[in-house]
Symmetry: C3
Subunit: 155 residues, 3 copies
């Protein structure tokens, strides 16, 4: 099964690939690496998921937001690379949770994105290194922001 076939089998709806909210590129290729800008949780209708984990969003809601960030990153990869099959493997994920000072379930939350990537590129190539941490605030109060680095299959 290819990554594109794995994604199709999940029957998940892709959000639109977001336009940058500032002066940056959604992705940038250097050699065999694809650097991906920080992405928020975009829904299929283009709106975002808001709220702070530990205050108005619980850990399960934040995990769903992280999965939605993962889908948004997939949308950006498909728009800019043409296909998920262009990606060989996940290198690195920085998962940033908008959270209260006493929130502690960041790894559980960011698994929402990591489990999605593992289903698409497999338990080895779909899993990279990761940090899962708590931010004091995020743009417009989105619940999760994730930046990532991938390796190209065909560099």
């Amino acid at each position: 099964m290819t990554a594109a076939e794995n994604f199709a089998a999940l029957n998940l709806e892709l959000p639109p690939a977001p336009s940058p909210l500032g002066v940056y590129k959604p992705i940038l290729i250097v050699g065999s690496l694809v650097y991906v800008s920080g992405h928020g949780p975009v829904l299929p209708n283009g709106s975002l998921l808001f709220g702070k984990a530990g205050h108005d969003v619980n850990a399960d809601g934040a995990k769903l937001a992280a999965q939605q960030v993962g889908l948004t990153i997939l949308a950006t990869l498909i728009k800019n690379l043409g296909s998920l099959n262009r990606i060989k493997r996940v290198i690195k994920v920085l998962g940033m949770v908008n959270a209260t000072p006493d929130f502690g379930k960041h790894p559980y939350v960011i698994n929402g994105c990591s489990e999605l990537f593992a289903k698409i590129w497999g338990p080895d190539h779909g899993v990279g290194v990761r940090s899962a941490v708590g931010m004091g605030s995020l743009p417009d109060n989105i619940t999760v922001e994730i930046e990532a680095v991938f390796e190209l299959a065909d560099a």
Copy 2:
């Protein structure tokens, strides 16, 4: 126009390149990439810009601090590489805003740095991937800290 000429045309004053506040190097070269340590907003007289966005600094003040961080990074590049012309393009910016939990204008703030880089290296090479996020605190209460990765022109 070269990057150095573009910078000269802006008529902006460079701060002194800061000495590390801890056990780290200002920049490090690996292959064709220049990794740049987190920089704060240093003024031409060597002092720093302090304050938390959403509390004692507003979004416009924080954007000016981000521009000042950009100038400080330029000072470090010139001191360590000899010229801004040694840089081919911006790869990645991690823009960290010292902000209250309800602050939401991080992309607007970090544009203060990104717009400066875009004027120097142009709208393509001067713009890389980016995350703009809110920190609970920063060293000595500086307003913005930014780390970056550039690609060398002559690697």
Copy 3:
């Protein structure tokens, strides 16, 4: 003196290399670079150091936690690479301190890790670029989380 000999001379006890708390790998090699996931401060008995800098941990306590994170990263490198001698140099450290909004001594805290690395790989190769910043929260309220990039000696 090799890195392994330098470490032995410090007479510090290694914690067990931690198992991932989520869907990620402890390290990942790309070309000559070793990417290391965010690590917490694991003690030799396997427990973690908890608490927020500026609240229930002071700057010196947080610096000890950062040193413990450094030791935990060393344990992961040894487990996955076989020896600290496989590492040529430190490229990058992102030091994240779980801190109150008014905490300001992040560089001092993260030196706890950076000074350890400098003792092992020396004042040039043991010191890379770095950011030291304050997080609103960290997993399970650990005091410090650090992610890093190293260069292999034998790539």
